[in-house]
Structures are given as structure tokens and as C-alpha cells.
Amino acid sequence: MHIATTQTFTAQPTFRDPRWLRVSLILIAVSFIVLFLCVPLILVLSEAFSKGWQAYWSALSEPDTVSAIKLTLITALVTVPLNTLFGLCAAWAITRFEFKGKSLLTTLIDLPFSVSPVISGLIFVLMFGAQGWFGEWLSAHDIKIIFAVPGIILATLFITFPFVARELIPLMQEMGSEEEEAALSLGASSWTTFFKITLPNIKWGLLYGVLLCNARAMGEFGAVSVVSGHIRGLTNTLPLHIEVSYNEYDFVASFASASILAGLAIVTLILKSVLEWKQSQNRV
């Protein structure tokens, strides 16, 4: 039979595709990626600097922008640690024990992923808004949740809820509990076992989850937009500040703020690649 072709075939089956096909498919893929991903990324920077460094810098040092940056950082500082702690607890309970309703619990954890951001904001308005469940009680006690910082934090907590847990659950499942059991039966305390055995094994996966959680916490727009009320200098996070400036035709300010978040996205992508690489090293 065709021995010659079979040999090249076994070595590198992909080269069976004719050259014209390979080249045109690569061209299609690369142009699509360039058009849809590279051009937008470059445009953020070129628009932000379109009026020069000075305009860029003065847009960023405007009090409203500074307060938006602060609020974004505060939101991430509250939500990321809480959801990380939750993710660790959930992964521990789900992967180290057998109990009824486990698969239901795993499904429920993923629920926020399948809910539209706008609905994620809406549910908190239904709870704490003027005509919401606790609306009257809250206004009687002069507590503001909707159109205030607590609402923003709650909506962000909801949106970023699954990130750490869903990263850790498959990882810890795969890892198994033999090492932990060995340490415990040799007399190590539970905490020692967790810090000396579990944590070193899951650290890259954990960081990966935290990274994605943080990116979403700082970048969430839809849900936060619904609960924030867009009060300049008070309840505008960076993504909302971008919208407000854009709608006021202040494009330099809008794209300057956008460039910070685009920078965050690039850093996230780089760290993500590094962590993926580290994790694959860890498994070997």
C-alpha cells in the first residue's frame, strides 16, 4: 500500500491538509482575531492618548476618576477575599466528603454564571430598593443599600461568587485526599495539614481563581450599573465612570479610564498564561 504517505502521515497527521488550505485557514483565523481582538485593544490606547499625555493625565487625576478608582478597589478588596474564603470552604466540603445533595450544591454554585448581569442587579433592587422587601424598614432606619456602596458590593459578590469554587473543585477532586489522610494519621493537626499539604498543592489553581474573580469584580458593569444610581464621585466604579464620561462626550476621560481596565485585562491574561503553565508543571 501507500507506505510513503502512511509514514509522513503517522509523523504529523496535520500536514495531510494541502498547503493552500492550511494557509487560507490560518489567514482567516488570524484576520478574525486581529479585527475583533487586536484592533479594539490598540484603539483603547490610541483614543486615550489622542489629545496627548497631558490630557490623559489630567483626565485620570480628576476627582471623579480618582473616587471611581477608589470605589473599584474597595469593591474588589471586600468581594475577592470573601469569595475566596467561600470557594475554599465549598471545595473542601464538596471534594473531601460524601453527602446528599452534593451535585445540587455544585449546580447551585454555578448559578450566577447563567444569570444576566442586569438580572443580578435587579434582584438586589427587589430586596433593598424603595418598594423592595426591606425597603420601608431600611428607609425608616436611614440605611442606604441601593444607590450606595453596599449595593454595589452585594451585586459584585453575587456576580463573582462561583469563580474560586469552580476552579478549586475539579482540582481538589483530581488531587485526592491520600496525602492529607497520611499527614493526619501521622499526628498532624487539621490546620497544619491544610497549610502544609493542601494549600501547596492547590496554590496555582487557587491563584488562578482569585485572578479571574478579581478581574470580574473590578470590571463588572451591568449588575453594578443597575444598583449604583450613577452618582458621580460617590457610587461610580471605574466601568460606570467610563459610561458616564462617554455619554457626556468626554472621550478622553472615558478612554483614559478604559485604558486602566484594559491594562488590568492584559495583566490578567499574562498572569493567567503563567499560572496555567505553573499548574501544568505542578501536575507532572
Binding site: 475583533f36 484603539l43 467561600f86 465549598a90
Partner: protein, 275 residues
């Protein structure tokens, strides 16, 4: 499975998980159900039967379907190229695929609107050469949704292509099958379920997408107004019941569609299993 008696911490971790899940996710979500229970059937029909609401459902579903179809096609080619062909800069492009996950939707929104508006980089070109308007039309919504959903397709198809068993291809080729026959009879049927999953994820994301769409859509009622925007509009008018009804209908409709796609997927799996 064997229950470990050595490992501790079951009660506190599960307890905390359930309490936190209830507080942050379940109780807030239940407001949707309770709010809609307060409404009568007539209230419901009044909101949903409104021409503007129906138009927004049409706009959202058509644009999401169109975007998911286009993304599935190009996403498949991209995944194919990234897995099978070596070329310079491949790792960089592969990492870039996740950009829409990492880039906040409002950033994506203003950038895409700027590129595709009539005097924007791509918008001007299309306007001059093809008399095609993208921004401030339903086509703009499709463009935004393609951007948002690209990683869903590529990242679901990629691993399946990667693990695809080359020996099947070899066997078919050595038995005399042409390259096209190998692709259409061996490779594609094996990848198809993953492609469907990617399609479903794109579609679901598209229906609910807000941030990247509102800047480029123009938001003309009856023409380019999407469901999430209408929910926000209702909320701004303090029409909580209206917003809830639309939200719940959108959830149920997209859930049904996903169920349909899941069934289709099961049917495809079964069929390809019998082959």
C-alpha cells in the same frame, strides 16, 4: 465511595457554604419568584404583550442567534488552526482569545462603538465601500455579541480537538477516504457536540448581555433595543413588576432554548455513538 474518618471540617465548611450561598445567591434570586407570584395573569400579559417588549425579545433573540452562528463558524476555524497548524505568534494569539473574558464589558462597548461608527476605523470603510451601517443598527449588536462570545466557542472546541484520536483519521485515510470525507465523516461528527455547547453558551450569554451592547446598538425602540436594556429602563421608572416579568420571561425562554440544545446534543451523541 469511601467516607474518610480522618479528615475533619465537614460541618463548618458545609455550613458556611450553605449559609453564604443562601445569603448571596439563593435568597436574592428568590425575590424574582416571589415578586412574580404577586402578579396576576393579566398583569403579566399586559407587560409581555406590549409591542415594544415583544420587539425587544425579537431583537435580542435574532441578534443572539446570528452572533452565535457566526461565532461558531469562525470560532471553529480558529480552534482548528490553533490546535493543528504550527505558525509564528500562535501562543500570543491563543492567549489573546480570552481577552473578551478579561476586558470589562463597558470598555468593549465604547471601543466597538468607536470602531464601527460611521466615521470610525472600520465603520467608515464599510460605509464607503459597501454602504453598510454597523453601529446604531441591529448589526452593531451582532458585532458586540460576536466579540463577547468568541472565547466560549474556541475554549469549548479546542480541548476536544486536542484530544481527538489521530489514529481514527489515519485508519480512514489508509482505507482510501479523501481528506474531505475524513473531515466530514470522522472529525466533524466527533467535534459537533462541543461546537453545539459553544453555540449554546454564546447564545445564552448574548441574550443577557448588556454592557457591550448598549453603546453600539443605538437603542432605538422596536429596532435595536435589547431585553436587558428594557429591564433597566423599567427599573429607572420604578416599575419593579414590569422589570421582574420581563426578566423572568427572559430567564425561562433562554432556559428552554438551552434545554432544546441539550436534547439536540444528546441526540447527536447517541447517533454518532451508533455509527
Amino acid at each position: 465511595m469511601r467516607q474518610s474518618h480522618v479528615i475533619q471540617g465537614f460541618a463548618p465548611t458545609l455550613g458556611l457554604t450553605v449559609v453564604y450561598l443562601s445569603l448571596v445567591v439563593l435568597i436574592p434570586l428568590s425575590t424574582l419568584v416571589f415578586k412574580s407570584l404577586q402578579l396576576s395573569w393579566d398583569d403579566y400579559l399586559n407587560v409581555i404583550g406590549n409591542a415594544r417588549v415583544l420587539a425587544s425579545f425579537r431583537v435580542s433573540f435574532i441578534t443572539s442567534l446570528a452572533a452565535a452562528t457566526i461565532t461558531s463558524f469562525f470560532g471553529f476555524i480558529i480552534a482548528w488552526v490553533l490546535v493543528r497548524y504550527p505558525f509564528p505568534g500562535k501562543r500570543f494569539l491563543d492567549a489573546l482569545i480570552d481577552l473578551p473574558f478579561a476586558l470589562p464589558t463597558s470598555v468593549a462597548g465604547i471601543v466597538l462603538a468607536t470602531i464601527y461608527q460611521p466615521n470610525g476605523a472600520v465603520g467608515q470603510f464599510l460605509q464607503d465601500n459597501f454602504n453598510l451601517k454597523i453601529a446604531y443598527t441591529p448589526l452593531g449588536i451582532v458585532v458586540a455579541l460576536i466579540f463577547i462570545s468568541l472565547p466560549f466557542v474556541v475554549r469549548t472546541v479546542e480541548p476536544v480537538l486536542q484530544e481527538f484520536d489521530f489514529t481514527m483519521e489515519e485508519a480512514a485515510a489508509s482505507l482510501g477516504a479523501s481528506r474531505w470525507q475524513v473531515f466530514s465523516k470522522i472529525i466533524f461528527p466527533n467535534i459537533f457536540p462541543a461546537l453545539l455547547t459553544g453555540f449554546a453558551l454564546s447564545f445564552a450569554r448574548g441574550i443577557g448581555e448588556y454592557g457591550s451592547v448598549i453603546f453600539i446598538a443605538g437603542n432605538l425602540p422596536y429596532v435595536s433595543e435589547v431585553i436587558p436594556l428594557l429591564i433597566v429602563t423599567k427599573l429607572e421608572q420604578y416599575d419593579y413588576s414590569g422589570a421582574t416579568v420581563i426578566a423572568l420571561t427572559m430567564l425561562v425562554a433562554s432556559f428552554l432554548l438551552l434545554l432544546l440544545i441539550n436534547l439536540l446534543q444528546m441526540w447527536v451523541r447517541k447517533r454518532s455513538g451508533q455509527l
